[in-house]
Structures are given as C-alpha cells and as structure tokens.
C-alpha cells in the first residue's frame, strides 16, 4: 500500500469542518459554574487587602476565592494568586465563581483591591541594575557556557566585531484562548483542558491536589492551537481545580482574549551582546555572548536561555565560544516557550554574525557560510551537543542556487529603482526533547485497529501521520486505523506534543508496538490454525503459511478472541491483541534547512515578500502535505515576529498590546506564497527515521527576512521586530 511519504488528507478534519469539534468551552456538565479571574491592575505593588464582600452580593455569584497559595517550582511565592505582592499586570488576585459567565464577570468587577503601587521594572537591562522586583532578586538565573579560549581566539583574529542584538517579546496567539473545565465528583477529579500535554498536566496537578482526590484524570479537549503556550502550569489551572473542589460543582474558566494576552506566558525577549573574531576568508574563530533573557515575574523560562546558548554555534565549526546566560526578573507576564523555543534566537544571532562577516570582508554570504559549515557528521559542538546526520554542504549548495536566482531577480528590480533585497538563513534545529513517548496499538474485536498515543497534537495532523505509519506496518487500509490521544485514562504515562517531537517519538512507539503486535498475531494464529509459528509470516493485514497457502486475516484472529462469551481459553498465547511501547532516543535529532527571501520595502515602510524558498532536511517525511503545512504556517509566524507582532509595555508596565490589532497578528493580506522542497539525507537513528518539522520554519524565517530588508535598505538591522517606522522613505 505505502501510505508513508504520501500527502494523505487528514483524518482529523471531518469533525472540524462541520463544526463538530469539541473544544473545552464546548463541553458542559449539568450544574457547571463559571469562573472569572480578578487580575492585578498594576505591574508592581504591595497588596494589602482583597475585599470581596460586594462580589458575594452580586446575583448569580456562588463564591469567591482569594489568597490561594500553591508551591510550584520556579514560580514566585505569590502563586497562583497574589497574596501580598503584585508582580505584573494580569496576575491573578482572586476568582469569582458564578452561575454563568456574565454574572461571574459582574462579580469580578465588584471585588475591591487595596494596594500600594511600587516602581515597576520592565526593561531587562535596567532590571540588571535594579534591586530586584520579584522576591528581591534581580537575577533569577545565571549560567556560563565556555569552550576553548574564546577571548584568546577573538583577540588573535585579524578582524573583530561587536554588536548588540535584540529579539522582541511575542505572544503565541493560538486562536483558542486557554481554558479549563474541572469536574469533581467527591472522589475523582476530571480536568478537561486546552493543553499540549494532558499527562504532564496530570502530574503537576497531582503534586498539588493528590492528597485531596483519589483519582485524577486529565482529558485534552480539541485544542485550538498552542505553539508552546499551553504546556506549562498556569495559575488558572490550579485555581479552577481548587474551585471545583471547594464548591463541589463542575467549574469552567475560559480566558477572554484580553486576559490571554496578559496572562499566557510570552516568549523570546532576549538581548545578546556579542563579540567575535574572524579571519580574512571569513572563518569565525571565536565568539562571546552576554545573553540576557527577560523572564518576567517568574523564573520558569530560564531553560530557553540554555537552549539558545548551547545552540548558538549552530551548524558552524567554531570551537572557541563563551555564552553567559543571565535571566532577569521584571514586572511583566512570565516568559516561556513559543514555537522554536530558544533556537530561533540562537539562529538569529549566529546568522546575523555570518552576514556581518560577509559584509565586512566583502564576500558572498553563501560562501562565508560554506567556509564555516560543519563538514563531517556526527559532530560534537562546543557545548557537547552531537549533531546527528545529514549533509549540510549539499543543502547549502541547493540554497545557494535559490539565492543566486533570487539575487538575479532582485538585480532586475533594482534597476527600476525599487528597494528590494535577498536574505538567506541556514538553520540547524535541535529536536526530540522530552525523553520518550508512548503509544498503544490495539486490534479491536471487529478487526479495526485503534492506536492510542501519548503525544497530544492540536492541529499538526500527527494522528494522520501515525495512522499512515501503522497502516503500512500492518498492511491494512488507513480507514481501518483510528488514532486517538489526549486522555490520561487511555494510556499510562506520556509527555505530549511540543518541540517537534510527536511523529518521531510517538510515531516510532506506534511503529514498534505494531511490530510486536504482528508477533502476537502470528503466535495466536499459529495455535488457531494448528501450525508451527515459525512457518507463519505476517503479510498484508494477515498471517499466512507460504507452504500450504493457508491464511488468516487480522480481523479473523481478532474476532476469534471475542467470539464466545462462555467457555474457557485453551491456548498458550494470551488473547490480547494490544501492545504498548514507550520509545526514546539516546540523542536529540538535528534537522536543518535554509530559507531564502526576496522582499521589497515600499516607501511607506511596509514590506512585501516577493518570493520565498524553504528547503528542509528533516529525515523521512511521512506526509509531505502536513509537513508543508507546518512550514507555511511557521513562515507567516516568522513574518509576524519580524514585521508586525510585538508585546509592548509602557514605562509603568501597562501592556499596550492587548488585542489582535494592537498586537499586529498577520492577516490574510500579509500572506505570501512559499515554495518548499525537502531532502531526506539526514535521517534519524530511529526505526522510522524522521526528525521533526514543527518548528523549523519559525527558526529559519527570521534572518532570511531581516537580511533581505537589510539588503533592500542598505542598513544594518540588529533587532526584531523590524518596524515599518524605520523603513519609511518620504
């Protein structure tokens, strides 16, 4: 049959295109109460009193929660609610539970906060000089990475440069806001959530509530996008569960968009002060980086600094590198991951360096990269990451052809006086985070195959990809494979969907489970058929004996096991036709690729993308249609990050970007055509040698676009977003 490698249309879609998706706000149980959150109106302050007596008088209000404290790693003492210290605008302070959402909001409005406002610190560099606005600590995290003799290498280089780069703060913007429905029946707790990881959520909720409930199940509702922002513990998760335990009713919280803007963990927000040395031919000799990451009013995003630091050398062979990661506290919404998580930042920095070297020595940017690119794989980078497989040079050659082609186009347009430029980005990505993933393959009594996976996709189409893999392995029709996920009661442990890991890890777990299942089918069939198991082969959805041509379909074996309700089981093989596998790899996977963009900068400062090429090597591509969807979506997100999106605050820490207009989410007329091609040279070490493609495009797009604008405007660009304001020509 061969489903793998083909653009199979998605199994996920029929319900979603007919309005039958079940997102968390679509779920309701009898007696469900609605919760509204009262949030801090100031960025920094001493909270003196929460007076909710008036709220309790509002018609429909059932109760109020204030002063809730839960100890959670890397979160401040004032978590999930501010008790005595207000740390950022949007921080939960109280929760009002009411019979419906309108009266919950009426109640929330009636809660009075008594506080004394304090000076807020918003800018990460100023935060370094402050006395500390979150629990008295300015620096929340610090770690130095050193390899070789970076200072020596820079000082002895014939050419040296210094620059400061900045990557702005962004909001993941899934179209569905966060939301939770918590149901407590006096014994068991079931939590329905818009999440990327129901099993992880179950673990962190068990840490907090395990002593108060006998059983805890998390079910992922259909999830309307996440992009990294629906992974880690949020205050509202704890508050909603607490409310359902306290009021013994199902309690639902659905964030409004404005709430989501100020409460969902934001991302990026790094400053890099780099110094580097290189030779006349463009070889990067040494590099130092003072990396400041603005963690906001908590420290849980610290690891993003580590990912950025260890991936800073990128695909290049530079040995002498020092990165000092400093995570600072500010009075802003806490920071965590967004699509790419640390790698877009690392790639932006190293690719800016490559471009500057090219400019400095007057060389072609492709040539400079060629000179620095790692030639032999596997390769261990200065900070101990072992790049696994592929042929970087080959992909760069292909990208070089695209670059030359777009350059020729640009030349022609320049002669018409148009401000056009071409940019290139070569990227290396680290994937496969989270040690392993689980999958269970089960043949049901009717012969259909049900796959339950621990990954928790929410738009990526992993269910279809895994169905392709399992259908191929079992030699059956893909319509006979159903893939489900998201329910902690269906499979023991799992991690979820993040870090471009799902198809590689859950896909391989499903593949191995299907393989073992075939052995079970053979063993059982041999007894049913009265044949030596060694004589039977599994082939095309059944087992057969090549000697006598006898054959038993998978369906028949399954039906045999459930054929009778009485009697005894008289076989040595057990009757189960289900296998669960947990699969992990002992190294990360390292997909890589290149993006090339041709842009035009208009007089009003707006930027039009005239041509865009993306080339990826992500190992085996199971479904090119899905992979391409990831690439196209990621590129427009990258476009948004470079040109339209940014979370801004005023000096007092009031958020200025609280809706899609002030935030600048790309709309249809910003979109442009992307042509995508893929190579399959760099396979992973897994049985299904995929590497992951969910994030590559949000990594590769930044420098391609920035460089193109830089060339079009003959300027130096050191930060994203690139504001139209700076490009206007009157």
């Amino acid at each position: 049959m061969g489903y793998v490698g083909r653009p199979i249309r998605r199994k996920e879609d029929p319900k979603l295109i007919t309005g039958r998706g079940r997102y968390v706000d679509d779920l309701e149980l009898p007696g469900t109460l609605f919760m509204a959150i009262v949030r801090s109106p100031v960025a920094h302050g001493v909270l003196k009193k929460v007076d909710y007596s008036d709220a309790l008088k509002v018609p429909g209000v059932v109760g109020v929660i204030a002063g809730l404290k839960v100890k959670v790693d890397n979160r401040p003492e004032n978590f999930p609610m501010a008790v005595n210290e207000l740390l950022y605008v949007g921080q939960p302070v109280a929760a009002v539970v009411a019979k419906d959402r309108y009266s919950a909001m009426d109640g929330a409005e009636a809660v009075q906060l008594d506080y004394e406002e304090l000076q807020a610190v918003i800018d990460p560099e100023k935060a370094l000089q402050s006395k500390g606005v979150v629990e008295g600590k300015a620096v929340a995290y610090e770690r130095e990475y050193v390899s070789g003799d970076p200072e020596g290498a820079i000082n002895s280089s014939p050419k040296k440069l210094e620059m400061k780069l900045r990557i702005g703060r962004v909001y993941a913007s899934p179209m569905e806001t966060r939301g939770v429905l918590s149901v407590y029946d006096g014994n068991s707790l079931t939590v329905y959530a818009s999440t990327q990881s129901p099993h992880f959520m179950r673990r962190f909720l068990l840490d907090a509530f395990g002593g108060r409930v006998n059983n805890l199940r998390v079910e992922q509702a259909d999830t309307g996008g996440a992009f990294g922002a629906k992974l880690f513990p949020y205050p509202e998760d704890y508050i909603t569960v607490e409310a359902s335990l306290r009021f013994k009713r199902p309690v639902k919280w659905i964030g409004t968009r404005r709430e989501d803007f100020v409460s969902t963990y934001l991302s990026r927000d790094q400053v890099h002060k780099v110094r580097f040395g290189f030779d006349q031919r463009g070889t990067l000799m040494g590099l130092t980086d003072e990396l400041i990451i603005n963690l906001g009013a908590a420290s849980h995003g610290y690891y993003l600094g580590d990912i950025t630091a260890t991936m800073l050398p990128g695909p290049y062979g530079v040995k002498n590198v020092r990165v000092n990661v400093v995570g600072v506290h500010t009075n802003t919404t806490p920071l965590d991951q967004y699509r790419g998580a640390g790698r877009p930042e690392a790639t932006f920095v190293i690719e800016r360096i490559m471009d500057y070297i090219a400019d400095e020595i007057g060389a072609d940017p492709v040539e400079v990269r060629k000179r620095n690119l790692v030639r032999e794989l596997p390769y261990t980078n200065p900070f101990g990451l072992t790049y696994d497989s592929g042929n970087y040079q080959h992909l760069l050659e292909r990208a070089g052809e695209a670059y030359a082609e777009l350059e020729r186009k640009a030349q022609a347009l320049r002669t018409q006086g148009r401000r056009v430029g071409v940019g290139l980005c070569f990227y290396l990505e680290q994937n496969n985070f989270g040690p392993w993933e689980s999958a269970s393959v089960r043949v049901r009594g009717d012969g259909k195959v049900s796959v339950i996976m621990g990954a928790a996709p929410h738009g990526q189409g992993t269910g279809t990809g895994v169905a392709q893999v399992v259908a191929d392995e079992l030699g059956i029709d893909i319509d006979d494979v159903e893939v489900s996920w998201g329910d902690t009661s269906q499979i023991g442990e799992a991690f979820g969907t993040y870090g471009s890991r799902s198809l590689t890890l859950a896909g391989n777990a499903a593949l191995l489970a299907a393989r073992r299942l075939k052995d079970k089918v053979r063993a059982l069939a041999s007894e049913i058929m009265g044949t030596d198991v060694e004589e039977l082969v599994y082939k095309q959805g059944g087992v057969e004996n090549p000697k006598d041509g006898r054959r038993m379909e998978l369906r028949d074996v399954a039906k045999f096991t459930v054929a009778s309700m009485g009697g005894t089981w008289n076989f040595k093989s057990d009757p189960s036709l289900e296998v669960t596998e947990y699969f992990g790899l002992n190294n990360y996977t390292f997909p890589y690729g290149a993006h090339v963009a041709l842009v035009e900068v208009e007089d009003d400062g707006s930027v039009k993308v005239l041509d865009y090429r993306a080339i990826d090597d992500v190992g085996v591509v199971v479904n090119p249609m899905l992979a391409q969807g990831q690439v196209m979506g990621g590129i427009i997100q990258g476009y948004g990050e470079v040109f339209t999106e940014e979370i801004k605050y005023d000096d007092q820490g009031n958020p200025l970007s609280t809706d899609f207009s002030s935030y600048g989410l790309p709309r249809a007329h910003h979109s442009f055509r992307v042509s995508w091609e893929f190579m399959e040279e760099g396979k992973s070490a897994a049985p299904l040698p995929a590497k992951g493609i969910g994030e590559g495009a949000s990594i590769g797009s930044l420098n391609a676009l920035v460089r193109a604008v830089e060339r079009a405007t003959k300027s130096r660009i050191t930060e994203v977003p690139v504001r139209a304001e700076g490009l206007v020509r009157v």
Partner: protein, 279 residues
Amino acid sequence: MYPPKFGYVIPDSLDEALEFLEKNEDARPLAGGYSLIPMLKLRLIRPSYIVELRRLNDLHYIKSDDKTLYLGALATHNEIATDQKVKKSVPVVSAVSSVIADPQIRNMGTIGGELAQADPVTDHPASLLVTEAKVKIKSKGNERIVPFEGFQKDIYTTDLKTGELIVEVQVPILKGYTYSYKRMEDTAAVAVLLRKEGEVIKDVRIAASLIGPVGTRLREAEKVLMDSKGDSKSIEEASKKAMESVNPIPSPRASAEYKKKLVGVYTKRALLEAMGGKQ
C-alpha cells in the same frame, strides 16, 4: 467579552427613538453595533438603555438627485461600496467604503454609526471631507444640517447633543473630478479629489484620516497645487505641506512622527494617481 447590564428599547418609529433618547441621557442608539458592542464587551461604557435602530427602515436607503447623493444613516458600508449610483456619482465614497475594516464589519456597520462614534481609526472622514459632505441631524421636533467638516470634534466626540441622531449624510455630486485614496490600515490615510482644466489643476481637495484625533482637510497642501500643472516639484512640496500640517495621535504600533510621514507618502501617491486620471 461580557457586556454590563442594560435595558433594550425597540422603537416603532424614528420619533419614538428620538423621544426616548432625549429623555434618557445615558441611553445609546445602536445602529450596526460594530463600534458600540466592542466597547460594551470591554465594559468601557455603561449605558442605561440601548435603543435599537436597525428596524427603522426610513433611515435605510441610498438615493440621489442631480446634485446630491443621500445616504440614509443605516446604509451599511457594503451597501455604499457596491451601490452603482455611488460608484458612478461619488466614486471616492464608494472606494473608501469598500476598504473599511473587514467584510463582516462592512456588512453590519453603518455610515451613521461610524460618524456618530467618531472613533479615530475610521476611513470615511477623508472621503466626506474632500467631497464637502453634510450631515443631517434630527432630534424630537427639530432638524439641522451641518457640514461634515467640524462635525467630529475630537476622539469619540461629535457635535451631536443628547437626543440627536444622524439621519442622513448628503454628499455633493462633483463632475469632472478624479480621485485617489491611499492608506495603511489602522494607521494613516489620504484622500485626494482633483479637477483639471487642460493641464491646470482648477480644484484640489486633500484630506487625511485614520491618524487621529479626527479627519483633517489639508488646505495648505491644496494651495500649493491650485492653478498649477501638478509637476513633480509641486507634488513634493504639497506632500511636505500635508505632512507638516497634521498632528496625529500615536498608537501602540505607530508613533505620531511615523503617521506624519505616512501622510506625506500617501499624499504623494494619491496625487500621482489622481493626476493620472483615475475617474
């Protein structure tokens, strides 16, 4: 997302609506709702009553005679954008109507509602300023017609008094003019209306909107071009004057300085296009 409590009034006639609005100072009329309801959702306003206008069919029309186009207050942006009479007689109004916000908003949003709301980020002011449109206002037992220029006083502030409603917008039909409208959504826009006799510009009107606080006629820029041939030097100079004569308010995504520059860029673009003869 959840509006505060208010009462709801469904009048049987315009007079009933006017009477109710006059007696209830805190009541707000509801036309298309695309300005009012977002404010209610964010609880930025707390009216005592909402007075529904959408069923008042006598405010819902597009008519014209030889000299004037009459837009009933409840004419939607999409109706204005697609109406053949408007396209023919006052194409600049049609063009501006066709780019306001997005299609769904144009399907519900009305010209009366837009003008009465005086949101700084709206398009119509530019086209109504260059056409020198008038606004017909009614209250119980009273009616007045005022020039659109000067009607919007400041952000969310108009000439309307308690109990008054916009009932009609009157747009003069100008023959022999070319027009252009250039904009960046939510940020800046410039409309140009221009009439040449032979090679010479005999009338030119330039107005900016979207930049806040309210739409502005750019007369200093117009003066530069009047009775000129609109050569590139005078277009440059007019654009510079246009830029210098506006005083925009900054928004989270664009500084006042940038908006000024955009007025310059769009004045130039619009003049070039209008000179090129777009009818």
